[in-house]
Amino acid sequence: MRSWRLAGALGLSAALLVLSACEYAGLFRPSVLGQVDPEMATLMNELPNLDEPNEAIIGRIYATGGASRAELGSDGIMRDRIRIPKDEYLWYPAVIIMPRGGTLELDITNEDHRLHAIFAASNGDRQIMSLPAATRGVIRVQLDQPGYYWFGCPVENHLGRGMLGLVLVKGEVPPEARLDRPPQPQAGNRRPPRAHH
């Protein structure tokens, strides 16, 4: 009995240790829990059922694939890798986070048995790259301002079936473009941006 308890405690602390070392721990932050309203919880519980052809695809679009932070290279270019797994019509990851505006290089592997392509917002013109079955390609886009931009697969209606991705550019408007006024009240738990000058 005693050793069962010991094992339980050991197991639990091992689990907690593991949890604290990964993204799951972050889910228990009050700022995150605050966003998980009943509708969101319903959606997450329904996901296994939604994740089937001819079921509502909506649950997959941003909830599957996950987010990834692009890494800033010593050459100033931000880089990330995306997989297109077999039979899923999804980008892994589907949300790419750029620490700031600039050039993003995406190294994309199409592991699927069918043609996909990427069509992505970029300054100058949208960039397009085709990815026949079992191929890999590299695409660079220029995105220069905080905000989010989309990329998607233009083959047939793959965009609607789940191949819709986003690039989130973090950062602030440059000081010289900011309004000359004191920090203003913000919505929700957004923090006011630093005062300029």
């Binding site: 069962w4 094992a7 339980g8 197991g11 639990l12 091992a14 689990a15 593991v18 949890l19 070392a21 990964c22 799951y24 890798r81 997989r83 892994y92 190294d107 994309i108 592997t109 592991e111 069509f119 917002a121 970029s122 300054n123 100058g124 013109d125 949208r126 960039q127 397009i128 790259m129 085709s130 990815l131 026949p132 079992a134 191929t135 890999r136 390609g137 590299v138 695409i139 660079r140 220069d144 301002q145 905080p146 905000g147 989010y148 931009y149 989309w150 998607g152 819709l164 440059p174 010289e176 473009a177 900011r178 309004l179 000359d180 006024r181 203003q184 009240p185 913000q186 919505a187 941006p193």
Partner: protein
């Protein structure tokens, strides 16, 4: 026991596995390469002749001497939107036919087509047309054939805080460059031969709710722009940048800081910080007086005046600015303490009367203001919208009485927040000496309610609704500058396209259901029409190439439809520029053949 332990280890291991991607991408060789989308268009030349190299400030000052071109937003600095071209005239206008069209159909994620509108005034320089569209598009076209010469598209974040539609009113061209301000407030100088960026300057604060929609104006060595966003509690501004380097030369805020002149008209300590007064329509310029006339928009919040007691300078005003410094030489406020969104941004038409230098401005509030443009002195005020009941302006003193303000329960007030005339511009015909204005004849039910200000979120302090029964139609009205009404042409729907007058005795007008019409400038009689198939909410222009006169009109209504034409919200959309010429002239010349016999 042992099995329980193992179970926990297994559980921990599986959790650990869940923390990291279980699969890595295979290490295949990279074989696929990207292309810009336009590279897939073998029909595009990707370059334009260097016509813009020789466009200088001096040439724009004398734009009237080269009527074959449309060198600046209004055609010339005087804001007339008049052309001395007369090949197309009242005698032959019945033979006006489309010569070519340019289709700018949106691709990608479009939440709602009505947000996307072609509103631009195309700029035409020696046979090349420079056009701006929605969502970051700029094109160079062959003005005689419509062939696409180059294309530039800036990537616009999906969360850019737009007030009223994804629109842009055009570019400016000078010294080999095309100047364009993106919806998210990047001022771009593009190489006019290739469309490649030469310099970029971020000049608006999207995080604060600012955006950009107007066509820049070239004055001397500067490119001048004004901000959008008075629906978001911003502090509007007009900025001047060096043409060659993009360095900012000055910024003038539409709302003064405490201690600055005009600050005494804000009866609340903090109101100036989010007072509105954006400046989203291109100004006019008088080179002889060296004065820039640039107007400001509504105060914030739109419908609830209680957070901002006072007149709220310099909102809803014309500012006469020293273009070298941005200093205000004089100002005139059209709607003091506005609570109806009667943004006074509309154009100023510069004209002379008995040797006196005047300025005419048809305001959203339903009154025509004629001012001395040297001093700002009031010359005359004429009501051009009979149904206006928001208040009464005394023509002698300019004072406003009998104000009818939004209420908590809702009250009908005329005109609605689109105004008696929306931003689309009036015209002054140098041939007839008449002013012509588009009219929106629609009222609205206005409500006000307190609304806390949150940076970056829209801040109306109320709302409005325009019922179908409150839309009474529209009109084109012709006035002598002394305020006498000469004729009125009525339309079923509000008129929300800029007017164009020509020395051919014509006034061109587009309707929001897509009919492009020519009126006899002297009588107001309709003499020609063409159904374009999509609403018109833009700036038609005229020009000529190799002796053929063209009338060009971008179509595709949308934008803020619910404000000015809610009865057409479900109307089919488009995005096509039509260029018209006379039937016999159009077939001549410049059309290159698509193939050849063998």
């Amino acid at each position: 026991m042992r099995t329980t332990k193992l179970a926990f280890v297994a559980a921990a291991a599986s959790l650990l596995a869940g923390c990291y991607p279980s699969e890595r991408a295979p290490n295949w060789p990279v074989t696929q390469r990207q292309e810009p989308f336009k590279q897939l268009d073998a029909a595009m030349r990707h370059s334009a002749p260097p016509v813009a190299d020789a466009v200088t400030f001096e040439r724009i000052v004398r734009a009237r001497s080269e009527p074959h071109n449309w060198l600046t937003y209004y055609g010339a600095y005087d804001g007339h939107r008049f052309s001395s071209l007369r090949q197309i005239n009242t005698d032959n206008v019945a033979r006006l036919r489309p010569a070519w069209t340019f289709q700018a159909v949106p691709i990608g994620i479009i939440p709602k087509h009505s947000e996307f509108t072609l509103e631009a005034a195309p700029i035409v320089v020696d046979g090349v047309m420079f056009l701006a569209g929605w969502d970051g598009y700029v094109w160079a076209l062959d003005a005689a054939t419509g062939e696409e010469l180059w294309r530039y598209r800036h990537a616009i974040p999906l969360d850019t805080p737009l007030c009223c539609g994804n629109v842009n009113r055009g570019v400016a061209v000078a010294r080999g460059k095309v100047f364009y301000s993106t919806p998210n407030g990047h001022l771009l100088a593009l190489d006019a031969r290739t469309g490649e960026p030469v310099w970029t300057k971020i000049w608006v604060d999207v995080r604060a709710g600012e955006s950009s929609t107007m066509a820049p104006l070239i004055v001397k060595n500067m490119v001048i722009v004004g901000s959008s966003g008075a629906e978001y509690g911003v502090r509007g501004h007009i900025d001047a940048f060096d043409i060659d380097t993009g360095q900012r030369i000055w910024r003038r805020y539409g709302v003064p800081k405490p201690g600055e002149p005009g600050s005494e008209t804000w009866g609340n300590e903090e109101a100036w910080q989010r007072g509105g007064g954006s400046a989203w329509i291109t100004g006019s310029y008088d080179p002889a007086l060296d004065l820039l006339y640039w107007n400001t928009s509504n105060p914030s919040p739109d419908f609830d005046g209680s957070p901002r007691p006072g007149d709220n300078l310099y909102t809803d005003s014309v500012l006469a600015l020293d273009p070298n410094t941005g200093e205000i030489r004089w100002h005139y406020q059209f709607t003091p303490h506005d609570v109806w969104d009667y943004s006074g941004v509309n154009e100023n038409i510069l004209f002379e009367e008995g040797g006196r230098k005047l300025l005419a401005h048809f305001d959203k509030n339903g009154y025509l203001f004629v001012l001395d443009r040297q001093t700002g002195a009031r010359v005359r005020i004429v009501r051009f919208y009979d149904r206006a009941n928001w208040g009464r302006i005394d023509p002698a003193t300019g004072a406003v009485s009998d104000r009818r303000e939004p209420t908590r329960e809702g009250i009908e007030i005329c005109p609605g927040p689109a105004g008696a005339k929306e931003w689309p511009h009036a015209t002054y015909s140098q041939q007839t000496g008449l002013l012509y204005t588009p009219v929106v004849d629609a009222c609205a039910t206005f409500r006000k309610f307190p609304m806390p200000f949150r940076e970056g979120l829209s801040w109306h302090g109320g709302d409005f609704k325009v019922d179908r029964a409150q839309v009474h139609g529209g009109a084109v009205k012709a006035y002598r500058p002394d305020g006498t009404l000469v004729w009125e042409w009525r339309s079923r729907h509000p008129i929300v396209a800029s007017l164009l007058s020509t020395a051919g005795g014509l006034v061109f007008v587009g309707t929001p259901d897509g009919i492009f019409i020519a009126l006899d400038a002297r009588s107001g009689r309709q003499v020609w029409q063409f159904r374009t198939g999509s609403g018109i909410h833009s700036n038609p222009v005229t020009y000529s190439v190799n002796g053929t006169q063209y009338i060009a009109v971008p179509t595709g209504a949308g934008g803020w439809m619910k404000g000015f034409s809610p009865e057409l919200l479900g109307h089919e959309r488009g995005g096509t520029l039509f260029a018209f010429s006379l039937a016999d002239a159009a077939s001549a010349g410049a059309q290159s053949s698509a193939g050849s016999p063998r």
